[in-house]
Each structure stands twice: as structure tokens, then as C-alpha cells.
Symmetry: C2
Subunit: 377 residues, 2 copies
């Protein structure tokens, strides 16, 4: 029979982290609840949607938590309802006590709220990652890699494997790649202290949640692998995600080596020009913008018979090679430019019908993106 | 054939004000456009949804507008599309020139965007308010009155007149009242320089838009009336709204004079307690909270057989009169407490089945609200 008191703000922050894994409209009703497990060491909170599970542990050692445990046990409570109730409590401290029949009494100031819960045994066992030797990564670096690649994954379920991001560690090199078959983004880094080689496909949705859950104050994260699950772990948070099954396509062969035209742009200027072009390309049949490279002048053109047209000479820093006319979906270029951390971007073309590449115009970063053009008449 | 150049930020702000009247899904297609009228004096922008019309005038005299008019005329442009295009332009100045066949060419920096427009003659004539002697009100006071009353208007179309707010000027006293038949809010003020008596019902939705459009920097607003329209006018903005037709019910007779129980609360404390109670009352059949006044102790109670219960002793500043048990929808009380500007609120009861009143516990403010209780067993 659980009984503890805790600082409301600390408890609420842990609840809100855990809640990120919980979906209110889950096919498995018990997953709309939050599991609270109270031991002598502290409080464990668990939330899951079946794909992602988050465990948040608040230790009795944490001074600002003001955690006092009188009695241990576990219970399930409706997650979003419970969190709303906790956040509404009047005092800075709350007392949670389990009373008869899986009910909890919350006391805070003069307010007494009784909530009905469920037996903890009803909660499924979701985590199956053995705590072997982990890969340790800087949180910020991992989040950067995710932000540089995950957006390029597919959102369509027609080829489920493409909704994931491919992480491959080979002899100290971590290669991360995502593609929806229209565009591709690949980032490589060298790891100083790499562990065993691995090859996994992580759902891009899980990775986006990971970036939201792990704040920048968390310096490093431990990564554990099993057959079909992966665990990101920090001091307080264990974040589990299922892995995607199947073979990821060979993307290395897609990356061209030789080009006929190369242009260096200011990243922000090009992005804004593409955002203007997209306003009108959205109203055209094929949704494309035409890029024209002629005698050292680069310009963008959209012609929508319904709405109007855009003609814009683009600011460039350098242009080399053959003249070219190429059409593409400006949204892919805008997304790609958002991912480029550098102020300058180098775009390299082969022909109007072959994918073109984007790389930051800087030394030392192994980051390449690919966009497939659209054939127009 | 229009031709002018203008500071982009100033133009955009005026466009966004005008856009507040424009609905993208209007039954009259031409109302999705914005009318631009260029005269030697400046630029007039007009948007309307048929109920509300907003005209914004940018004068050539305004220094920060940097308005240079080369040629006058008028045109209609798709409002939200045009505004998106303007906000995407690269330079701080833009040039708008009408070219052949009701097309405009927007030039800014190296960007040239052509947009198709329509003839200004297609726009309906919506404003019909004669510029007679206006009533002049402080903008802030008028917005306060609206915030204190408009929320209590009905959102149901079953009795259209109740979706409005009743403004009555009688011999220098402006009475403003709204009710949805479950609750009522009435504010009275004395005007120093009142004009002719009037009695109008203004749609509450129009009043909410008014509070959004007229910023607090605008010190005073002129109010003009006609048979079925009202005009709020400041230096740059003319805001027209249709009035509701029909007779507003007599609300004066609803306000009780004699009470059996009176309690003074801290406004914020009571509001937070009601917000907690509402979390659980939402899960009950009749959605009510029970207030119990007994031997000088005031407490709130909700019992949801499904979810749990709340019992809370409320902080009070004073209590007088008979003991009482009364049930009501906590949302009505929360809304009412939000409208009370004062730190303390006096609530007065007659019996469990008669409406109770809220007034700020302060001298000099003529502001009263009424909430109807719910009969429970």
C-alpha cells in the first residue's frame, strides 16, 4: 500500500516526461495508464504506447524532490487525468496514499482528492533489453544526428522499413541514413570509444520523441541493443523503442561521385527564396520550382496559370560547370536546407534527371543529402 | 492602374489587421479576397466576412510607412495567399504595380512575383453607417466591459438574440449585459460625455474580434450607430459589425435584491479550487460541484462513482447568514471569477434553487454576475 510525499514540481516534471510515451487513443486500454512503482530507493514512473516506453526514476537521494517514502507498492492510474489533477493541487508538496481497493488519496493543502486506480499486475511487460556493455554517446551529438537525418524518413506505411532511420556502426564509424525514396540524408561520425558493430533501423517517430525527452542538460546517454529493442538510458530516464524489422536498402550506391555543375549558396537566402517559390508552386499541377543556371546566373521560376508566377535571381557565392535547367519539389530543398547547420551549402548536379547532392560548404563534416528531381516538359 | 511602394512591415501589419475579418471558407467567394484601394491620400485595405468588415487606412503622411504612390486605382487579391507572399518578400521595401489584365507585379530585392487579381467592382458594398455624431469611449474601458460580459453570451443559435451583448445607453448610464440563460453578466458605467440614448444587441463574436483588432495603444474609439450596423472607428481602423435583430429579454427583473447567505472569497483561491473540482465533475452525470456552507466552514465536494472524489475546505474571508448546500456547474463559476477584476469576490445566495450573485468585494464598481444552480437529489 503506497504512501509517499513529494515536491509537486519535481513529480510533475517526471510525470510529463513519462506521459510523452502515452497515447490517449491506444488500442490496448491499459496503456492509457501510468504505472507508479514505489520502492525504498524511490519512485519509478512508466508510460508506454507499445512502441516506445519511458521509465522515469525519482530517487530518495534527490534533494530537491523532497521525497519521503512511508510505504512501498505499485498501482496504475489514468495518466492524463492523474497529471491534470496533480498539476491542479494547491500546495508545493503533495501526499499520495493508497487506501482500500486500489484507490489513492491525494492530499495537498486543504484539498483531498480520491482517485480510482488499477492493479499494477495488469500492466504488460514491455522492456526486454539486457544491460550489456552500452555505447556511450554525447546527447547533443546524438540529437544533432537525429535532426540531420530523421526528417528524410518516409511517413508512408507502404514501405515500413523506410519510416525508420538506419544506424550502422562499422569499425568505429557510425553511419546514420534516412530516405523516403525522393530524398536522402546521410551523416557519418567517427566514434572514439566505439563498442561492437551493429546495424539497426529505429522508427523516426521514436527518435523525434527521444530528442524531446532528453534535454540538453543530460550530457551523455547510454545505448543498449537487443534483438528487437533499443534502450537510451540516462541517470533518471530509460527510453525504450522497438526496432523495425527487415533489411534496409543499400543507399551507398545512390550517392553520385562525379558532377557537371556546382553552385555554392548562402543557406538562409536560398531557403527563403524557396519558401517564396513554394507559395506559388503549391498552386501548380506538379508542385515544382525550376532552377536555371545560365552564364553564371542562377534563377528560380514558378509559373502557375491559376495564381501567378515567381521569377527570382538567386544570390550565389560561386558557380562552376555546365549550364542546367532542373525542376524539383521546393519542400525537399527547404527541409534539406533546414538540416544544413552551416551558413553555406554546396549543391552539385549531374543532369536534369539525376539526383543532386547538398553538402555543407565546410571542411570536416561528413554530411550529404540527395534530392531527386521531377521530370517536366 | 495601381502603383506604389511601401515599407513591408507596416503594410503587413495593416494586412494582418484587415485579415481578421476575412474567413477562408465564406459562402460568398469574393469575400475571401482583400480590397486594395489606392488614392492620392493613401491606401485603403478592406476585408469582410459579411458580419464584420474592417477597413485599414495607411496615409501617405505616416512617416514610418514610407508610402510612395505613383498611380491610383483598386483591385481584389486573394487575402491569405497575398499576405503569405508579402510576408515572404526579401527586402524591407516592396513595390506593387498593376500590369495588364488585373495582374499585380510585386518586386522586392531581386524577387519578382506576379499575382492574378480581380476587378474591385466585384466587391459587395457592406458598410452603411452614416457619420453622424459619435459616442467617444476609451478603448481600454470598452475592452474591459466586453471582457466582463461577452463570455456570458450564448454560443447556441437556438435563441440568436442571446448570442449578442445588450448595450443600452440611458441618460448617461451605459448598461452592458449578456446571458445564455444559465448565467448572466452585467456591467454599468457612467459616461461623462454621453450622446443620444441607444439600445443595440452586438454579436459577441464581433466584440471579441474588436478586442483583438484595437490594440491598447489606440486611446479612444468613436462609435457610430445605424439601423442594423455599428462602426467602431479609430484613426486608421474602421470596424463595422452587423447588429442582431429582435428584442433582448428583460434581465433587470432576474437580479435578486435580498439574500440569506453571503460569503467573501479570495478570487484566485476559489478559482483554483473550482478548477480542481471540475476535473472530477466532468466525469459525473450532471457535471456539478456541491458547495456546503455549515457553521462558518465552506467546502466543495464532487463524487464521481467512476473516477473518484474531491473534498476541499475553501479559504474564506467572511461568511454570513444561513447554512446552505447548493450545486452548480463549476465552469460557470470559473468563467465568472475570471471576469472579476478584483482580488476579492462576494457571493450571495438565497436558496439551493435560486440563482446566486457574484460582485467584486470593492466599492464603486457596478458589476454583477448571476449563476443558476442545478437541482440535485
Amino acid at each position: 500500500m503506497i504512501h509517499f510525499s513529494i515536491n509537486k514540481a519535481v513529480f510533475l516534471q517526471a510525470l510529463n516526461t513519462t506521459k510523452r510515451a502515452i497515447s490517449s487513443k491506444n488500442a490496448i486500454p491499459v496503456l492509457s495508464t501510468l504505472k507508479i512503482e514505489v520502492s525504498k530507493e524511490g519512485i519509478g514512473l512508466t508510460g508506454s504506447n507499445g512502441q516506445i516506453s519511458i521509465e522515469h526514476f525519482i530517487s530518495v537521494q534527490e534533494e530537491n524532490a523532497g521525497l519521503l517514502i512511508s510505504s512501498t507498492g505499485s498501482i496504475l492510474l489514468e495518466a492524463s487525468f492523474f497529471i491534470n489533477v496533480v498539476s491542479s493541487l494547491p500546495d508545493i508538496v503533495l501526499d499520495l496514499k493508497e487506501i482500500e481497493q486500489k484507490q489513492v488519496l491525494l492530499t495537498s493543502g486543504k484539498s483531498e482528492i480520491t482517485l480510482k486506480g488499477k492493479e499494477a499486475e495488469l500492466y504488460p511487460r514491455l522492456q526486454e533489453v539486457a544491460a550489456t556493455k552500452p555505447l556511450v554517446l554525447e546527447t547533443k551529438l546524438l540529437k544533432d544526428i537525429i535532426n540531420e537525418t530523421a526528417f528524410a524518413a518516409s511517413t508512408q506505411e507502404s514501405r515500413p522499413i523506410l519510416t525508420g532511420v538506419h544506424f550502422v556502426l562499422t569499425d568505429g564509424t557510425l553511419k546514420t541514413v534516412a530516405t523516403d525514396s525522393h530524398r536522402m540524408s546521410q551523416r557519418k561520425i567517427q566514434l572514439d570509444k566505439a563498442g561492437d558493430n551493429f546495424d539497426v533501423v529505429i522508427p523516426s517517430r521514436s527518435l523525434r520523441e527521444f530528442t524531446a525527452v532528453f534535454s540538453d542538460e543530460i550530457e551523455t546517454v547510454e545505448v543498449f541493443f537487443s534483438n528487437n529493442q533499443l534502450l537510451f538510458r540516462s541517470q533518471h530516464i530509460s527510453f525504450y523503442t522497438r526496432l523495425l524489422e527487415g533489411t534496409y536498402p543499400d543507399t551507398d550506391r545512390l550517392i553520385p561521385k562525379d558532377f557537371n555543375t556546382t553552385v555554392i549558396f548562402d543557406t538562409a537566402n536560398l531557403r527563403h527564396a524557396m519558401e517564396r517559390a513554394r507559395l506559388l508552386s503549391n498552386a501548380t499541377q506538379n508542385g515544382t520550382v525550376k532552377l536555371e543556371i545560365q552564364n553564371g546566373v542562377v534563377s528560380a521560376h514558378v509559373n502557375s496559370p491559376e495564381v501567378g508566377k515567381v521569377n527570382e535571381e538567386l544570390d550565389i557565392l560561386a558557380v562552376n560547370g555546365e549550364d542546367l535547367m532542373i525542376s524539383f519539389n521546393p519542400t525537399y530543398l527547404i527541409d534539406a536546407l533546414k538540416a544544413v547547420g552551416n551558413e553555406q551549402v554546396k549543391i552539385s548536379f549531374i543532369s536534369p534527371i539525376r539526383p543532386f547532392t547538398l553538402v555543407p560548404n565546410a571542411e570536416g563534416e561528413d554530411f550529404i543529402q540527395l534530392i531527386t528531381p521531377v521530370r517536366t516538359n
